[in-house]
Structures are given as structure tokens and as C-alpha cells.
Symmetry: C2
């Protein structure tokens, strides 16, 4: 490598069909052009997984790329990217996790791990520095993620782990990979490993990650530690986790999706408030799923991502009559929505138990919750019979029924399990009866906890996101909801104007976060300005802010090109029927929705900002300008 530090210049390639294990050089141009993490992953995915490959066949790959900062000690720089063709969307798949295994992989001497082919028998991938082998894993197959992790920690003490649960084994399209209680969740990565019969990975490294300027890096790490410490968001995260703003989203903005997006807020919170006011009382807390209620009450510790400067982890212990005693990290904001709001279930212990179960069984909490919410609506509407629910009384707010449904999904058990195992799009296709009208998804992926009818920039972000309905590809929800951030002023969440550049810019910036492996909750600290010095300290490369944005734009264009090659066009950049046609019925965002003509206008703006064709295809000119001439040849649009 021409760079001084930060990279080993080594790709570890493991073929599960042949058993072949190889170390290959990282292409010379990769560091400057793609930085690392999702940058490497996206480029390799485009190059290595051919168009129309079966996502659950041997041609798909799981490309694991720790971010550039992983293992360097840079605060929040713990994110490892899992890159794959998504079986859920049929397009570009990317899932990030603050995975200990990413750090160990780097310490073992690898920048990238490519897993390809398909094993006949269940296996584990064992990596210890230069010793890499496939180990038969029949005794792991069938275990939950927690059981597998516990067993592995005994057999391979000191190793970091990654495991799929029963849902991944059963090829659920919404199944996850659990990496030491951090989940690479979205888009079905668990099913990809399941299809390869790779139950998990255990990895340990003992090498020292090369750093170009260790003294400078140390200084910067101290500097940033203080910045984080002094930032008000740090305390909020530490006290209440990522759900800290749930009440605000619910009552102030009315954009917290409830009852499978029939409502934009938890009405109960208002009722409670009114009741208190009538009694002359004032309390901060009006619903149970608000962390202001449960975090102080249930938290027993923290299990943050490695090197976190602003740990949002709320490790809780629940001793419940119904669910017994269990511990779980979370629930995150998104899970408080998917198992709380979406199910209209304001019962913290049950929500936490659903979270625990989903992690253990290996299901994406967002996708699983939204799918169950859909089933509840279908049941209440009489579209789903009791026979089809295997006898469950699947009504909103019924926590017991949700727990049963979740278990069935992981095992494809009974009528209900078979119906719901692959997420809401497949479920609605299987059920028919116009149930697609309330199936909440974009490109097959279930949306996170932002009622984008009242956050119109995020509606655009959902529609265009390369991996389906997704808050993290753009990370623009804060800007939209607060109305300003950094370079953005006067953002109006209720209008569909001026969103194109905003979303494209945020996406490019977030791609830089994903390439460095930095947590997006740090974007109010590092912004973009923080990166050039950190990158220089780690690698010796001097990359200015403008060039970083070019790298981000390059990554986003490759991801889009991957989808274009699969046949995605403008028609796929759409929104669920409910978001387009059913206004939020009450509350602060009452009356808002995103009709197709408004979405069309936003798409025009976005494609223009991206320099893409009106059909949403990256132009040859844009791809050439991003120094991607081969992709320009492959898919570039002409005039």
C-alpha cells in the first residue's frame, strides 16, 4: 500500500463451497478512493456479486468490512459493515454494527473478509491471526444467538463472535447477524449466512493495527473525548439511550408511528397528560415505553459498542411474572416503536421481552414488529382468520399474541409463522385481499420509527434509499425534525420542497461515517470537519472535506448502480400506500401525507441534485466525474 498506516492491504477470502481460504491484496487504489468500511464493501459487492444472483444462492457473498477507524481507539469508531445482496429487497444490502468482531478481524491482519459459496453442512469460521479454518458446527445449529455465543465463549475464550439465530437458519428474509449483542439487522443478512450454512464466526487477532501518526492520534483521541464529554447529547444518551426523544416525537411532532401507522402518535400519552392536568399534576412521563419511565427503573448497567464516547446502551434486567427474568440491551428507539408504538403496546416489560426474543431468535426488531403490526391490522379488519393466526387473538396491544407470533416467525411455524417469516411485503402478497394497502415497506424493507408523512424530507429518504425504508442511509431525520442542522437552515418538514439536495448531501455524509466506521450519533460532534485530521493520523493520507464528500458520493453511486444493474429504476423509489394517501388523522402533524405528485417533485429534485437521469439512473457523466468509468460503461445513463 502507498499509505503509511490504517490498512493491512489484505483481503481474507473464504469459499464455503470449496473450503478454499486465501489472502489477497487489497487493490492499491482502494484507500484513497473508498476509504474503508462500507466504501470497500460497496465496491467489492458491485464487483463480485453478479447481476441477478440469487441472494440465497452460492453466488451471493457476505463481505465484512470494518470501518477505517475500527480498532484505532477513535471515539465511536466501532462500526463494521456487512455488505451483501439483500434477500429482502433483491438489491444492495448493507448493515452496520458496533461489532467487536470487526476490531478482532483487523487485529488479525485483515481489512476485508469475503465469505462466498455455500457449505453442505453447518460450519463455523474460525480466525485467529493467520490461522483460518472452517469448523463443523452441527452442535451449534439450532441454537439461539445467545446460546451459540455462550457456547462459543467457552470453546473459544477471548474470541469475538458473530452468530445467526434460528430465523437465519430458517432463511427468514428479515433475519439478522448478532455480533456479541450488537445486531447487523437490516435487509436479511442472517438469511445470507443461513443459506451458506455458516452459523457463525469466531475471531481473535493479536496484531497491532498500523497507525501512521500514533502521537497525533493519541492527542486527537483525548481532544475528542473531551468534546463528547462536554456535549449535552452525551448525557441524554447515557441517561435514556436512543429513545430519549420518544416523547418529543410523540407529543411535540406527532410523528411517532402507532397502530401500524394508523396514527402519528400514542394517543394514550395525551389522555394521560389530560388526566394529570385535570388533577393538577405534572409528570414528565406519560407512557411506559418512554425511557424516562423505564431506564431508571430497569437499567442494571451498560454494554456499549467498543470505544464509545457517548454510550447509549441501557442494559436492563426484567423480572417479570409473565416472561420470567431476562436481560437485554435496549430497547432502542426503533424497537420501542416496532414492538411498542406499531403494536400499540404500551407495556415496557413485554416490549423488552419481544426485543430479547428477536435478538435471540435472530430477527430484525424493526421488520418483525412492523410485520406483526400489519398482521394485527389485517386481523382486526377481518382479512386474517383465526385459523390463519393459529388461533391467536392478534389485536393491537395484545403482547402475548405478539410474542407467540414472533416465535412462529423465527421457526416458520404454523400458518402464521409461514405467513410472516419473510416480512410484510411477502406476507401481504401471500395474504392478498388488498392487504398491501397497509403493508408498510419500501422496496420490501419495513420502515423505522419516523412517520414521514410529517417529515417529508425523510419520506424522500425512505423512497430513494438504496436499501429500502431506512433512516440511517441519510440520517436526515434530525435536520428535518429540528428544522436546521449545521449547514442547513429553515428546513420545513411539512413541505416537499428543497429536499433533493438536502437528502443527497446527508446520504453522502453518512457514507463517510459508514466508511470510517463512525457512529452516526457522533454527527453533531465530528460533523465533517473532524475527519481529515483523524484520517491523517491513522493513515497518513491528507483528505480534505470536499474530497471526503466526493468519496461519500462515490459510494452512494456505486450502491445505486448495484440496484440499477438489478433492474431498479424510478418506479421503485416509491412509498407505502398509507403514506401517500392516508393523512395523519390527528395531532401536531394532522392532515399531512405525501401524495404521489409531491413525491414525484421530490424525486425530480433528488435526481437533479445527484446528477442522475429523470429515471433515477446515474449518468455516465456523473460516474465518470466520480472516477468510476467501468460502472459508467455498465449502467451509466446517456442524455
Amino acid at each position: 500500500m502507498q499509505v503509511e498506516g490504517g490498512y493491512w492491504g489484505r483481503i481474507l477470502r473464504v469459499n464455503l463451497s470449496t473450503g478454499e481460504i486465501k489472502v489477497e491484496p487489497l487493490p492499491e487504489e482502494f484507500p484513497r478512493k473508498y476509504l474503508g468500511g462500507v466504501g470497500f464493501g460497496t465496491r467489492l459487492l458491485y464487483d463480485e456479486v453478479p447481476a441477478k444472483a440469487d441472494p440465497l444462492g452460492p453466488e451471493n457473498k457476505m463481505i465484512i468490512t470494518p470501518g477505517l477507524f475500527v480498532g484505532t481507539g477513535i471515539g465511536t469508531g466501532s462500526k463494521t459493515a456487512f455488505n451483501f445482496k439483500s434477500p429482502l429487497t433483491g438489491g444492495y444490502g448493507r448493515s452496520m454494527a458496533g461489532a467487536k468482531m470487526g476490531e478482532e478481524l483487523k487485529k488479525a491482519g485483515y481489512d476485508v473478509l469475503i465469505i462466498e459459496g455455500q457449505s453442505d453442512e453447518p460450519v463455523l469460521l474460525y480466525i485467529k491471526d493467520d490461522e483460518v479454518k472452517l469448523v463443523p458446527a452441527n452442535d451449534y445449529w439450532g441454537l439461539t444467538t445467545g446460546e451459540a455465543r455462550k457456547k462459543a465463549k467457552e470453546e473459544y475464550p477471548g474470541f469475538a463472535t458473530a452468530f445467526i439465530g434460528p430465523a437465519g437458519e430458517n432463511l427468514s428474509l428479515i433475519s439478522i447477524i448478532d455480533t456479541d449483542e450488537r445486531q447487523a439487522a437490516r435487509g436479511g443478512p442472517g438469511a445470507v449466512l443461513g443459506s451458506k450454512r455458516l452459523k457463525g464466526i469466531v475471531v481473535k487477532g493479536t496484531k497491532k493495527i498500523p497507525i501512521a501518526k500514533p502521537d497525533k492520534l493519541r492527542e486527537l483521541i483525548f481532544y475528542w473525548a473531551k468534546v463528547f464529554k462536554d456535549h449535552p447529547a452525551t448525557k441524554a444518551d447515557m441517561d435514556y439511550g436512543s429513545g430519549e426523544f420518544l416523547d418529543w416525537m410523540n407529543r411535540e411532532r406527532g410523528t411517532f408511528p402507532v397502530r401500524n401507522w394508523q396514527m402519528g402518535f400514542f394517543k394514550k400519552a395525551y389522555e394521560k397528560l389530560k388526566e394529570m392536568q385535570e388533577k393538577g399534576l405534572q409528570f414528565r412521563v406519560h407512557i411506559e415505553i418512554d425511557p424516562y419511565y423505564w431506564a431508571p427503573k430497569y437499567r442494571v448497567g451498560r454494554r456499549p459498542c467498543p470505544m464509545c464516547n457517548k454510550p447509549c446502551s441501557q442494559y436492563v434486567k426484567v423480572e417479570s411474572e409473565r416472561w420470567g427474568t431476562f436481560m437485554v440491551d435496549g430497547p432502542e428507539y426503533e424497537t420501542l416503536y416496532s414492538f411498542g408504538g406499531a403494536l400499540e403496546l404500551d407495556d415496557f416489560e413485554t416490549v423488552a421481552y419481544l426485543n430479547y426474543l428477536a435478538d435471540e431468535l435472530g430477527l430484525d426488531t424493526i421488520s418483525a414488529g412492523v410485520t406483526i403490526a400489519w398482521a394485527m391490522e389485517a386481523y382486526e379488519r377481518g382479512l386474517l382468520t383465526k385459523e390463519e393466526t393459529d388461533g391467536l387473538e392478534l389485536t393491537f396491544g395484545n403482547g402475548e399474541a405478539a410474542v407467540e407470533a414472533l416465535k412462529k416467525m423465527a421457526y416458520r411455524e404454523g400458518n402464521l409463522g409461514k405467513l410472516l417469516a419473510d416480512g410484510v411485503k411477502r406476507a401481504s402478497e401471500r395474504l392478498g385481499k388488498e392487504s398491501w394497502k397497509f403493508a408498510m415497506h419500501v422496496k420490501g424493507m419495513e420502515p423505522p420509527a419516523y412517520d414521514v408523512r410529517g417529515i417529508k424530507g425523510m419520506a424522500l429518504a425512505f423512497a430513494v434509499s438504496v436499501r429500502g425504508a431506512d433512516h440511517l442511509t441519510s440520517g436526515a431525520y434530525g435536520t428535518e425534525l429540528v428544522g436546521k442542522w449545521w449547514k442547513f437552515e429553515g428546513v420545513d418538514r411539512t413541505k416537499g420542497e428543497n429536499k433533493g439536495f438536502e437528502i443527497a448531501f446527508h446520504e453522502n455524509l453518512m457514507a463517510v461515517y459508514d466508511a470510517t466506521g463512525t457512529c452516526k450519533f457522533s454527527r453533531h460532534m465530528y460533523f465533517l470537519e473532524g475527519f481529515p485530521d483523524l484520517i491523517e493520523a491513522v493513515t497518513g493520507m491528507n483528505i480534505g472535506e470536499a474530497e471526503l464528500m466526493v468519496i461519500g458520493e462515490r459510494i452512494m453511486n456505486i450502491a445505486r448502480a448495484f440496484n440499477v444493474r438489478e433492474g431498479f429504476t424510478r418506479k421503485d423509489d416509491t412509498l407505502p400506500y398509507r403514506i401517500m394517501w392516508e393523512p395523519i388523522p390527528e395531532g401536531p402533524s394532522k392532515g399531512l401525507h405525501v401524495p404521489p405528485w409531491e413525491l414525484d417533485r421530490m424525486l425530480d429534485e433528488y435526481y437533479q441534485a445527484r446528477g442522475w437521469s429523470r429515471d433515477g439512473i446515474p449518468t455516465k457523466a456523473k460516474l465518470m466525474a466520480l472516477d468510476l468509468p467501468d460502472i459508467a460503461d455498465d449502467i451509466g445513463a446517456g442524455i
Copy 2:
């Protein structure tokens, strides 16, 4: 300034109306955002010269910005930008010269000189370090550039100079500024100074230009000196100057415009060749204006730009019966066309004399020659009477008539002088009679020596150039004519496809050259890769290649925005009638022309590559992405 070297952080502002002289700080963000030279100049011009300002009124400004490398010793880094609203085009005006005065200005402690307002009486601007004053200059008014320079060198020994000639005084719209025998020529900068009654500038500096890393810079200078020395183009330039490839353009490509663009080559060269072949002879030289003929014969020395590593200067002495004895630097390739090819005048001594006269009188050789060529065609067609030519037999090839015409133009003398003084667009408007059909110009500016009917990418470059028909804004002629360069392969000059990105890319790259003040004849040595190290040595700033291209793109977008604010749109991005409708009649490029539909296709491609609207307006999204939010507000196109 936050940077370590390269800049003083000082703007010298001279108001000729009030006599006020001020030093102002260079805005903090300028170095990283605009680099220097034309980058500073373009931004300041946009900010300071209001829309619809009279180019010859007090609101116009002459903003003189030495390139970042000027005075640092970096090879060919001698170019100073003269930025102004062009009286010739009514739009963005920029003219570069290897001006000694730029270096002295920097040594005097200024990054930028802004001249504004209008003096009642002729004045000189005197600058010696911190001593800056306006000196009455009645005794200079009326002198030729050479006479004024000679007088100034006596009165202000050791000073660098810049002067306008009689043409500038008489507000000819094609008049130049002569800076110690280097001309800032295109777009009428002479008239801008003439309108301000500023005859000239004398400047001397004694300060040491701040350099961030002098040792590193010294090393790099030696390194590049060797690269230049070993490069084959250096010898060709030294032996024959910029006209070295004239014969190739004429005979191999058939794209050397002759007889006011009625022909794509000098037929005489073929005839001579045939004659020789019949005699069994072989000579390299077939026409007199080919430097292979005249350079060895007439050259008496070299007067290169400061710090030139590949001097193309051919200083010639002509002892002529008709024209007496004179010395002149040149003629350059463009002048061999404008006074040679365009007039079908294969008489070196007369071409050189016309060059000498144009420099002395203060006229742009390209524009003046093309204007006379038009008059010759009009005369031969009977559209121009002998009364209108003041009795001149203004036929092609008539050198004496051309000399007389040129003198008349500079002084607006007689019918012919009044007709031709302001270039070909005004002349054809004054004459009428459909003479516009063979008036060669884009946006009012006369084209250089590339018959773009056979170089279609350059046809696009002519059409879209912010300053009118122009080879230097894109510098793409080499790529087009050779068919490849650097990142470009398989370029087909005969077809109108795939030109949009090519031209946009070249323009952005050339803006980097103009910002650093590097000669474009160095683009085969430095390409883009050479700049980051040089910029770091000079300024301490680490700016990678991708960011440099963003800076170039930013500059080009501001220049375009300047024109948009003046009312320019797609309709102005057009070509002369002859280029669109009259194919090259003979030779290697026979039959080629650029019909409007082909131009339209190229414009579509170019606007797409630029991220502009189909009407050629920079979009808000593009301007925001370039961190130019104020300009986005001013002129940015929506969807």
C-alpha cells in the same frame, strides 16, 4: 489567514473616481475555497460587479489576481489573471498573461489588486510595496504600448509594467493590456482600463513571498525542472514555439482555418508539396508561416514568461523592405492563423509585422485578424464598397491592406476603422446585408485557430465557453485532435458524441491551472497529480486531486453564474453560422460541420455533465454542493 504560506491575506483596492486607496483583508475562506488567481478573481468579480453594469462605466472593475504559484519559482507558474466584465461579450471576462507585474504585485504584499471607478484624467497606478499612488499620465496618453513601456522603464527603473495602447484608449472592444510584452488580450480588457483612463500600472515589490515549506518547495522545483527538461514537448516548444504543430493541423487534420474559415487548411501547402513531390524533392516546410520555416531564420533570442521551464518564446528580428526593421516576440500559433491563415496571407514578414503592430497599438491579434478576414470576405463578395474600405483593396492575401486596416481599427480612423474597431460581431451588425453569416464569433468573441467543424468537442467548448469562442477555457483541443490524453481514450473528433463530460472535465482542470497560475502548456507534465505537493509546499494546505477538481468546478460555476445573471442562457451557447451550416470543403476533414441538432445534443450532454438545467443554468443543487449557497439563491435553477 489560517494557512501557513502562499498568501499575504491582503487585497489592494484603488478607486479611480475618489482616489481612495485601501488595503483590505482577503476573506478567510478564500484560499481553501478558491485557491488563488482566477479563483479569487472570479469570485470577487461576481461579488463586486453588479448585474447589468456598463462594462465601460465606473461600475466595472479590473481585478488582477496573480496565480497561487506566481513568484514562488514553480516552473511555468507565471500566469496572472485579469478579471473583468467583458465589453466584447457583455459577460464574464478573463484574460491570463505571464505577467512580470503579477510577480511584483505579490512581492509588494498583495494577493489581489482591484481597480474600480473612473478617473477624469489619464493616470498611472504606481505601486511600490506599501507606497501606492495615482500619478497623472497625460504624457503617456497616446503612446503605443512599446513607447509607454520604454518611457516607464526610464522613469521607474526596475518596475514591472502594464499598459494599454491607443486601441484601449479609444475603447476598442478587442483591445488588450500589454504587460512587458505579454498580452492579456481576450475580451477587451484594454477598453476597460481605457474607460477608466488608467493608461498603465508600474509595480515593484521587495518583500519575500511567504512559503510554508521552502525546503520541500526547492526539492520539488528541481524535480520538475528535470521532468520538463526530459519531456519531448519542451524541445519542440523551444525550437519552434507554439506554432510547432501548424503544419500538422494544416495537412494532417485539415483543421487550420483559412480564408475566414472558408477552408480548413492552407491549400498552398498541398500545392507546394505536390510540386516538390513531382520534382522528387522532400522538404519539411511548405508554407512560410510554419515556424519550421521562420523560427530558425528570424529568431534572435527568447523572452519567455518568468520562470518558464519550457520556453516557447521565439523572439524574432525582421529587417524588411516594406516594414523596416522591427522585433517582436512571436508570432504565436494563434497569430499565425489570425494574421496568416484567416487572411490567406502566407508572408511571414507581414504576419510578424501585423503581430508587432497589434501589440504596439494594443489589439488582440486573434480578434483583429478574424475581423479583418471578415472584412476581406465582405469586400470580395461586394458587400463592402471601396468607399467603406477607405479605398483599400481589401482582398485575401493583401498584407498591405491588412496593415492599413489594423492601424485604422486602433484609432477608429476612417470608415473602415469605425466599422472594424469593435470586432467582427459589431462590424457585421453595422454592415448588415447578411454579413453576419460569415462573421466568426461566439458571444461576440472571435475564435482561435481550430476549425471546430472537424474538432467537434472543441465546437462544444467554443459554444459553452464562458468568455466566448475560446480554446483555453477547456484546453481540450489536444485531446480531441490526438484522440486521447491522460484519462481520455478513443476520443473521436469527427463525432458529436461523448463530449459533454470531456469538455466539462477539461474546463474544471484548466480552472485549476488558472487558479494556480500555471501555464496550460504544462498540462502534459503536471497533469493534476503534480499540484497537491506543490500547493502543500507553498501554502501548507493539503488539497487532494479530487478536491482540486471541486475547486475548478466551483470556479467554472461562478463564471457561468456571472453570465446567467447577465441574462445568458442556452440560446447564447451557439456557434457561428458557417460552422453549423457550411461543411469544410476539402482536405482530411472534408464534409464535416456541426449542424444545430448535433450542437443541441452536445449541449444536452454538457449540461448533464455539469449538473445544470436543460437551459444551461446551474441548478441550486449543484451550487449548494459546491458550497455556493448565496449564488444558488441568486441564480440557481430549480427542477
